[in-house]
Symmetry: C2
Subunit: 306 residues, 2 copies
């Protein structure tokens, strides 16, 4: 069973209170692939320029990430983003955004991807996300979608077309409020459900994540860490852990989605420990298992003591 | 087994985006008593003026709250606070603070309170909290203490004397950062442990609460609600549920403290549903049991699915 991942593969230049990364590999689909490939084979759809390191593509390929759907535009440059985090690590300033190859990206779904049952649409122009959905001959078992306030501001009509076709939407709390027009997250979830997604995941960074479905709600905390070194890609890594676990288990019940969100939270807790994708490159299955046990300790309580 | 509760009993005048309360009964020790009396008998220590309603004292007494330690100053006025919440309900402006009887409060611990094994010091001048501890002939099994940034600003030396004598400190996240000088809550917890409290509870309002002890950490979410009607007293109610459960079970293990924090979170989720103590006056044991089950659903996941 494999998972199609759509999104940017890019260069980032990150400054945090702990230091500067210089130009490193980033992009939503890169983080998702590094994370989800721990759980399931990946079929990647993206676009890079001739400047993107072949070595990066080789190591991803060796991890089980198919790159047939990754377009390489030899004479163009990869998407580039530069940002500086504030002291609280919850807010950041974008210093530079160069769309480059991403500005004209027209995704093509290879024939070999057609049998995939899971689709993860990373944060990208809604028109690109929609194009991938429309190229699939069979509706996937589950479509999950990440997006952001930027697309709500400039491409709301396109965004609503994608929303009507997806099962799970991932946004942060302020984006859920913007999209729904409701301040209460419970009310926001009810409004967003009317737009299409039967499942809504609201990411709250250091404050954890909420999963809403019908009248049900589940909460996953973030692991309290001594230091958050670099939050870049934490949301993408969270999404990768969530959808990677679902694709591995082929179980899209609400009960398994709870476990999947904890997997996402555990993977995101690794991501922020070092710059960029560095920590995701190092961790083993044993590391992941141990961290999952930390989450059990973090939230489990004994109701029989009441 | 009973529990000594120390704190203000007062009048509040609250304005939220949903309306105005007019002058109603409030105060930290009032909320704690209304909440904790669901679990254990209470020995109350406080001070009120001649204007405080006898009816309120009567209903508390009927719930098992001993008032022998509550001083009634017939010719003076009760503590009065008036505040207005902002639209997000997370911040508020204080409009009026009249200390009245609280300004000269000298607590006296009645002999009949001396056998209590649990002590809850509600948010109050540290010198008053210290006086109660020093009047007790035997050290209680557990002393829990609430405080706030105001006392860190104007009475830090006194506050540190109390901290050295308590087992559990309850503060919010910004107060934990102020007291410790550390931004990371994990590092803040380690610093505060050096000041005395072996257990630290960091309250994060709608984002839940963290319990730290040695290298262990536990997280309790807040219940996602359609509306938060009035947050006044939610922190006191949380403390009352926490210490009330511990006093009822007489078990101060870390495992039982986890359950106690969920009890506190469940009780706080009732408190915010109506103005003042109104909702706490209505709820039954069945309501509390049902809400505890909601917390099980909210956080429990199946690790065997990984």
């Amino acid at each position: 069973m494999s998972l199609i991942v759509v999104g940017s593969m890019a260069f980032d230049d990150i400054e945090t209170p702990f230091g500067k990364s210089d130009k490193i590999v980033g992009g939503a689909a890169t983080y998702i692939a590094w994370c989800a490939s721990n759980f399931t084979p990946i079929k990647q759809i993206s676009v890079v320029g001739g400047d993107f390191p072949a070595e990066e593509l080789n190591v991803l390929s060796a991890r089980g990430v198919s790159l047939e759907g990754v377009q390489i535009k030899k004479d163009e440059k990869s998407f580039y983003w530069s940002g500086r985090y504030h002291l609280d690590m919850n807010s950041r300033d974008t210093l530079v955004t160069e769309l480059n190859v991403l500005g004209t990206f027209q995704p093509v779904v290879p024939d070999s991807y057609q049998d995939c049952e899971f689709l993860m649409l990373g944060n990208l122009a809604p028109s690109v996300q929609l194009s991938v959905i429309e190229q699939l001959k069979n509706k996937p078992k589950l479509i999950a979608m990440d997006t952001m306030n930027f697309w709500m501001d400039i491409a709301l009509d396109d965004l609503k077309k994608v929303l009507a076709k997806v099962d799970v939407l991932l946004v942060n709390d302020s984006e859920a409020r913007q999209l729904s027009g409701e301040y209460s997250l419970v009310k926001a979830a009810a409004e967003i459900a009317k737009m299409g997604p039967k499942y809504l995941i609201i990411k709250k960074g250091e404050h954890g994540a909420l999963l809403f479905h019908d009248k049900e709600v589940f909460f996953a905390p973030a692991l309290p860490l001594e230091e958050v070194f670099d939050p870049t890609g934490a949301g993408d890594t969270f999404a990768g852990g969530f959808v990677g676990h679902l694709a591995k288990t082929k179980d899209i019940s609400f009960g398994n989605m709870k476990t999947a969100i904890i997997v996402g939270s555990a993977m995101a807790s690794f991501c922020v420990e070092k710059f960029g994708t560095q920590r995701l490159r190092e961790i083993t299955k044993a590391d992941i298992d141990e961290r999952m046990q930390q989450f059990v300790q973090l939230v489990n309580f004994d109701i029989s003591l009441v």
